[in-house]
Amino acid sequence: MRVAWSFLLVVLLAAVAFFGADAGGQALFGVVLPYVAMVVFLVGIAARVLSWARSTVPFRIPTTCGQQRSLPWIKPASLDNPSTGRGAAARVLLEVFAFRSLFRNTRSELRPGGRFTFSPDKWLWAGALAFHYAFLVVFLRHYRFFAEPVPAVVRWIEGLDGFFQVGLPVVYLTDIVLVAALGFLLWRRLEDARLRYLSLHADYFPLALLLGIAVSGVLLRYFVRADVVRVKELAIGLVSLHPAVPQGISPLVFAHIFLVTVLIAYFPFSKLVHMAGVFLSPTRNLANDTRMRRHVNPWNPAIVGHTYAEWEHEFHDKLKASGIPLDEE
């Protein structure tokens, strides 16, 4: 089964880093590889986006999901069918921040009395949104390792995230949400026969990797208790480009870091590039205004159809006989 291979691979990667660091490879896993991964990421993503940008957008093909702007007394759907660039930008932002299209799923149900009700079918939307936001917050929280003093914003996020003040150290809500959402997305892929049929290694591996990162992170925060001061020393060394590897950091930290390293390096070559791609989607980021304003195709081929003159020439006698006006007699 594909999913098993992905998890096996992640466990293997973690083990390599764990034992590798233990055997004296801290510099490799803590410094060299993260730098390499960062370079791969930046170059890879830039190359990817450039390659998309190099491809032209010959036609304006938004998918219209609401009323067009036409007559002044008909209310247009300015977000789902924007007629201006600003509207299109808002549409993309709504897609990026609220997953608008996934939100569209509805389910109708026949109620007693023959009445139909429409209830949202939002599991995928909720699961995806929960994962992405939890990941974002966890990502931002990690800034505490990279900056001294810890920025107020990060402290504020931490405070909010640990609002319920449960446990010691305080349990972050997003840690739970992140693992739960990833678990849901994985369960969904395995449980639904259709998704199981079409899922590739490339679908399971990122999930396994992210789960590996989340679980190792949770272990480090709540159970193994890494030496935060030394980890921060390592992190600040990395970002200030004066890398140093403090002694006594738990090998689990290196496992965690290595999985993140793999994720970063894998990113540009995987479906994860949807993060950048969503902004460029021609069915979403273009205004539905092609009849109002001319859209230019940079390579518009010089194609001339069957001209009127050719047509009249061919059908001349028939046109004449049936009294249809002609250009030339």
Binding site: S55, G66, Q67, L71, A128, L198, T290, R294, N300, D327
Partner: protein
């Protein structure tokens, strides 16, 4: 006893063998009724398209050019550079499955390869193999596969099993549009001579004579005159449409089925009555006698080639602007492609309604107005005398046609018209209309008779919703603004909900429109008696 009972059972194991989707095997012989006949060689020759020959999908050897793999590889490379949509859609899909149950062909057949995501994977897997590093290194593990003859056959089967309706694209978080994938995949198939006759023959006809059916100009004129006679019989009003007349204010372009096939002809009668009642100065063209554009189902170059005629003719006739009839994919082309391909239309004037003075600012560049926009504006300004009671024998619902809904967004205009011309209007359930509308199952050139079973399967979700309003509200008329719909839904209804007829919106306008000089109307445009023996013309 129970054991014995079991023995008596007819035991058939229907379950198909579990096989990975990457291993294709299409048995065309066993799947008759779900694919379309290949294009006749004479049509390809006329158009100058590659590899004309007589062949059948049931043949083992499809007589491809020797270097067909290279041709497709190069064709794909070229299109990846030309179409950001293609490159992006092939890269960013996360296979979340949001689109899986949105395709009418999937819902009607249960065939997993009709899920939009897998339809795209058919091409994506080859893209990975040929164009991505990961695919090249990892091969099958990376979801990549070589373009083998079996894969190509699968492309032919499934890319001519997509109606380019864009419903999946509405639900995709990245806006991946299977219509775009299918259009470009069909371009690739066309490069090696894999196309279907029901697309290519109309293209050839349209290029040569001006319309899909190959109707020559004198016959076109006879047809129009015949319909004018019929209309006079029904209403007592003699309308006088002109053909190829220079100096008219408007050029009116309709899909050819509207002056040729039932039930489109009644819609056409509706247009003529309306334009006559208002005294609009318009002309039809026998040269640009086709609004539809099967180039959309062939290649972008072909769209441009066929669409060329409309502006060319408008310029020659010296009209001010262009009015367009009710048609689905025609309007996708006009709305999203025409100006880009064949514009700028600087020889025309920004369209203004000659009756109400309304400026159609939304068509300021393309200078072509949808007849529903035109009519809705007339009704809003009280320029029409309407007697909706003349449609009281009808209980009407409205089918949003795919392209006008999802590639344009003309949702309210036809509804406004319908509410003004009929008294009994009922909507279908909300997840089957507007931008979520279900396809008729016969768009994109698939509305041919040899493909009937696939059409009936694909039409099931639409028919199912119609049946619901038929049972609940007694609906007996399905109105739409698409000529393919008028043809395909008619058959669909005859199979699934025979009590329901199909018509264009302007047929119902024609029924309700009161005109000076008309005779007492006892029948509708189809010659069917009105409700309650109603005879008075004026409301």
């Amino acid at each position: 006893m129970p054991e014995k009972t079991r023995d008596e059972l007819v035991q058939i194991d229907f379950k198909p063998p579990e096989r990975e989707w990457m291993d294709p095997a299409i048995d065309f012989e066993a799947r008759r009724g779900t694919w379309s006949y290949p294009a006749a060689a004479k049509n390809l020759r006329y158009l100058g398209f590659p590899n004309p020959r007589e062949w059948s999908p049931t043949d083992e050897d499809w007589q491809l050019p020797e270097n067909w793999q290279q041709i497709i590889h190069d064709g794909l490379a070229e299109r990846l550079n030309k179409y950001r949509s293609l490159k992006l859609f092939l890269d960013v899909c996360v296979r979340c499955g949001a689109c899986a149950d949105k395709c009418h062909f999937y819902l009607g057949s249960g065939d997993p390869k009709n899920m939009p995501v897998l339809r795209a994977e058919l091409l994506r897997s080859v893209y990975r193999n040929d164009f991505t590093t990961a695919g090249r290194i990892l091969g099958r593990i990376g979801g990549a596969r070589k373009l083998t003859p079996a894969v190509l056959k699968e492309w032919f089967y499934y890319f001519y099993q997509c109606t380019e309706c864009r419903r999946c694209s509405v639900f995709c978080p990245y806006g991946i549009d299977t219509a775009e994938i299918t259009m470009l995949a069909r371009e690739l198939l066309n490069l090696v001579g894999l196309n279907i006759n029901w697309v290519i023959e109309p293209v050839a006809n349209c290029d040569r004579t001006g319309n899909h059916l190959g109707i020559q100009p004198h016959t076109f004129k006879d047809n129009i005159e015949f319909l004018v006679d019929e209309l006079e019989d029904a209403t007592g009003v003699r309308v006088d449409p002109s053909i190829n007349r220079k100096g008219a204010e408007l050029l009116f372009v309709v899909p050819s089925a509207d002056y040729f096939a039932e039930p489109g002809i009644y819609t056409f009668m509706g247009y003529l009555l309306l334009l006559h009642a208002l005294g609009v100065d318009y002309t039809l063209s026998a040269y640009a006698s086709e609004g539809g554009n099967f180039g959309l189902f062939t290649s972008h170059d072909t769209i441009k080639r066929l669409n060329y005629k409309i502006y060319h003719e408008a310029k020659r006739l010296g009209v001010k602007w262009i009015l367009g009839g009710e048609c689905g994919h025609m309007w996708r082309v006009i709305h999203q492609y025409m100006d880009t391909m064949n514009g700028p239309a600087d020889f025309l004037e920004p369209p203004v309604s000659p009756i109400t003075g309304t400026a159609f600012t939304n068509a300021a560049a393309t200078k072509m107005v949808h007849v529903c926009e035109f009519t809705a504006d007339l009704i809003k300004h009280g320029k029409l005398r309407l007697d909706p009671a003349r449609n009281d024998h009808l209980r009407v619902t409205f089918h949003d046609s795919c392209n006008p809904a999802r590639a344009m967004g003309i949702l309210e205009e036809p509804r406004y018209i319908l509410r003004s011309v009929v008294n009994n209007f009922f909507e279908m359930p909300e997840n089957t209309i507007r931008e979520q509308t279900f396809c008729c199952g016969g768009g994109a050139g698939l509305g041919n008779d040899e493909n009937m079973e696939m059409r009936l399967r694909g039409g099931l979700p639409r028919a199912n919703a119609v049946r619901f309003v038929h049972e609940k509200h007694g609906v007996n008329r399905l109105a739409c603004i698409c000529a393919i719909d008028r043809a395909v839904l008619t058959t669909l209804m005859e199979y699934w909900v025979p009590e329901v007829d199909v018509s264009g919106v302007h047929e119902l306008v024609g029924n309700a429109l009161a005109i000076d000089g008309e005779k007492p109307r006892n029948t509708d445009l189809r010659g069917r008696p009105l409700a309650g023996g109603k005879g008075d013309a004026d409301a």
